[in-house]
Symmetry: C2
Subunit: 325 residues, 2 copies
């Protein structure tokens, strides 16, 4: 314990790299012990860079997500007025839905350091290791119609894109409807669920999972998944990114439906699915075509090789060149 | 206690009317005590008819709703495999949603003798006094698309209509989308809620409230509400009616989408909204027209006086001659 504290103190006092040798001499411990302690510190959230022949450098203190950290400097007016943080939870969407049933207000935010049962679209799982990403859900209780929900789904993707680009410089793009991709790999998934009557949305749970500082992925995912750290080459602080996403989400929601056209234009400019060959299932048949446009109600318009056009509202669309397809 | 039991024993042993005088003599109690006990028995669910100059006759034992009663003789294959009964609950839809989140299976049935926070469409309240009606919710976990949910809503109305007609002889009709009316008064409301991703329904909670044996309504409701007992003139046993509704619901769901056309035809033949003047709100303007048709996706097609036609998917439609409009 004390050793870790001492290492942090040493690194904090040096703006430059400190060699492992120096640390080991100073603290009277072995080089292996230094290395082990550095790793332990990293695991508890310290960002420490190591460069061969130069040593270690403290980049950032723990990127711990707490209501206080999130609230400090948050630029939103409506979102995240209520913040629930969890070290570990089954799924922030499930929690949001439970809390929604119990009356949680519009804009409530549910964030977890780790999800044990993270969910993707269509009942798939979403890997959410502790401390490495942003796993959160925003609860929206709007007066929107169910028919507008698809648009909200697209807009959430656009908001995340903007925030990632501003915070990391990465060129974040969208695979329709709302996967966020960088260089054809997925860096963020969004699962929008809603509770509705036939003509009234009671609430929407917009679940957003961003791979932030993951340094590697299980083999079966590595073809199609990446993280902001892997793409930008730098450790990314999660709380400022979360704040930025919330701000952009509030902005696009405020702009909708007033500025639907310009939002749709921006969405299209970020959409990697357009003008590419795509595959989709229709009436149990696998079909192929070129994605030509996004309709005002959020559908992907695909022109098949025989000239017929289909508006697609389901998200099961593969895109040539994306996720190794 | 004993007096009530004795009265029941006397009435059960007589297939004909027994006079209050005979009962009072036999039990050595006053005529008023007989009358009081008869009323208490009625309140606890015994159906006892009284006819001037003839006396009392036991029509039915308590119409208590229990899982055993419901399961006995139930003709469904899928619905009500799981049955949760409550003496009193906030709302069977809310309970169904909570249980759905916790994993309740397809077809689960939630029934309450009394709802303390019964809900109608668009957040309205629904009066659900103890023992007088059927207040229940069926949980459906189907593989339907959200776009088909409106059809399910209509079909639920159709199923209730069929069951009421078969069990009571009352000509049950539908005010679009799924209010059940008899002689232009509402006898049943249906609140369909769903939890969905953008392209997948996770579950639907079909909440059905039938005014069965209510003998009167609060003044503000009496213009537009009625009960099966008031309309048929007889006490209606609730469990057989519930079983019939479940059976018809399963039947229409099984027939959809295979026999959509014939279902739609039957729906239209029962729909009181058609060929009448209706009022609705469009873009904050009150509009009036004639309801001409129901579209295959469940919308009400209204032709306004200037000849323009509107497909209406919201349920806020008043119908001339219905509910005192």
């Amino acid at each position: 314990m004390n050793t870790k504290k001492e290492i942090i103190r040493i690194l904090e006092q040096n703006s430059e790299y400190v060699s492992g040798e120096k640390i080991s001499e100073f603290l009277h411990i072995t080089r292996t012990a230094v290395w082990k302690n550095i790793n332990a510190l990293r695991n508890s959230g310290y960002s420490i860079e190591s460069v061969t022949n130069r040593g270690y450098k403290l980049i950032a203190r723990p990127d711990k997500i707490t209501p206080e950290e999130i609230a400090l400097g948050l630029k939103t007016k409506l979102l995240a007025k209520r913040i629930d943080c969890y070290d570990r939870i089954d799924s922030t969407n499930e929690e949001a839905k439970r809390k929604a049933l119990a009356g949680a207000p519009d804009g409530s935010l549910f964030v977890a350091e780790e999800q044990t049962g993270g969910k993707g679209r269509l009942g798939r799982s979403w890997t959410s290791p502790a401390g490495q990403g942003l796993w959160f859900t925003v609860l929206l209780r709007s007066s929107l119609l169910p028919s507008q929900a698809a648009n909200i789904t697209l807009l959430a993707g656009l908001a995340v894109c903007r925030a990632i680009q501003r915070n990391t410089g990465c060129a974040a793009m969208i695979k329709w409807p709302n996967d966020i991709v960088i260089e054809s790999k997925k860096v963020c998934g969004i699962l929008t669920e809603m509770a509705a009557e036939m003509d009234r949305i009671e609430y929407m749970a917009v679940g957003i999972g961003v791979n932030v500082n993951n340094e590697n992925f299980p083999e079966e995912l590595s073809v199609k998944a990446t993280s902001l750290r892997l793409e930008s080459g730098s450790f990314i602080r999660r709380v400022p990114l979360l704040q930025e996403i919330l701000f952009e989400l509030e902005t696009v929601l405020k702009d909708f439906p007033l500025h639907t056209e310009s939002l749709l234009r921006e969405y299209k400019s970020r959409c990697v699915s357009l003008n590419r060959r795509v595959g989709f299932i229709r009436e149990n048949r696998k079909m192929v075509g070129v994605a030509e446009d996004i309709s005002p109600s959020g559908e992907l318009i695909v022109r098949c090789d025989d000239g017929t056009k289909f508006p697609i509202s389901s998200g099961e669309v593969t895109v040539q060149g994306i996720y190794g397809e």
